[in-house]
């Protein structure tokens, strides 16, 4: 509930069913709490193999940090904790997809050492 609410507040779109599905077994869902036990942020990911022809890799599906606690390393800690889980499961790559106009999140992943991957995402307008 708190996760769906934080995401809705930051993205302006409520999607409770999507977040419910994210909690499925086999997925990793880590949360960070502030000192008073409130939700400070979360990260969600999963290992996926052979999607789009790519060998197994840990995918980061979502990361959100409460704006009030940003720039304190919460995001980096969540990312590192998720990466540690991926490594423990034997994968050697972590991957994500980012809106190229979202400089904030792009900069965050770059600061974690991520670089352009082997795939290029393509779209076509069908309207």
């Amino acid at each position: 509930m708190a996760i769906s609410a934080l995401d809705a507040r930051l993205t302006g779109a409520a999607k409770p069913d999507y977040w419910h599905e994210m909690l499925a077994p086999g997925r990793h869902f880590l949360v960070a709490e502030s000192a008073n036990g409130a939700l400070a942020g979360f990260v969600a990911g999963e290992i996926r193999a052979w999607e789009f022809g790519q060998p197994p890799a840990g995918w980061v599906f979502a990361i959100q940090i409460d704006p009030e606690v940003r720039l304190k390393g919460v995001g980096s800690q969540l990312f590192e904790a998720l990466v540690a889980r991926f490594k423990a499961e034997g994968v050697t790559r972590v991957r994500t997809l980012v809106d190229r106009k979202d400089h904030l999140i792009l900069s965050f992943f770059r600061a974690q050492g991520m670089v352009a991957g082997p795939s290029l995402q393509l779209d076509k307008d069908l309207s």
């Binding site: 190229r100 106009k101 400089h103 792009l106 900069s107 770059r110 600061a111 050492g113 352009a116």
Partner: protein, 130 residues
């Protein structure tokens, strides 16, 4: 991707100085380190100084130091000081034709990806050793 000489020198100077904000280096020091023209670098440093990224440089031996914010300044901020803004470019001959327009959409796509990449990398990120 080809950068103008001034852009490359600007990136070298800012990144070298940002490595240690306490340290001062003259344009001659920087020129020697990167094997580039000291005269050209002096001009580039004046542009960087006007943008508030570096300070100093009184006289020929005057040293510069970094005065920007390593985590907030991105590679694009430096590139934008020396390269023409993507939107400010005049129309090229032939761009109005069907093929010219289609070609221009491909080139714009390349520019957008390049800009997103440069804007996503802060000085701190580039200087970090992973």
């Amino acid at each position: 991707m080809k950068l103008q000489t001034a852009t490359r020198l600007g990136l070298y100077a800012v990144l070298e100085l940002a490595r240690d904000p306490e340290r001062t280096l003259s344009s001659a020091d920087l020129a020697e380190r990167y094997g580039v023209s000291s005269h050209h670098l002096a001009k580039v440093l004046r542009t960087l100084s006007a943008a508030g990224l570096v300070r100093g440089g009184r006289g020929a031996s005057g040293g510069y130091r970094f005065t920007g914010n390593r985590r907030r300044t991105t590679l694009m901020d430096i590139v934008a000081l020396f390269e023409p803004a993507p939107g400010s470019r005049g129309k090229e001959p032939g761009e109005e034709t069907e093929i010219g327009g289609a070609l221009q959409r491909v080139l714009t796509e390349v520019d957008e990806i390049a800009e997103a990449t440069l804007r996503s990398i802060s000085l701190a990120t580039l200087l970090k050793k992973h």
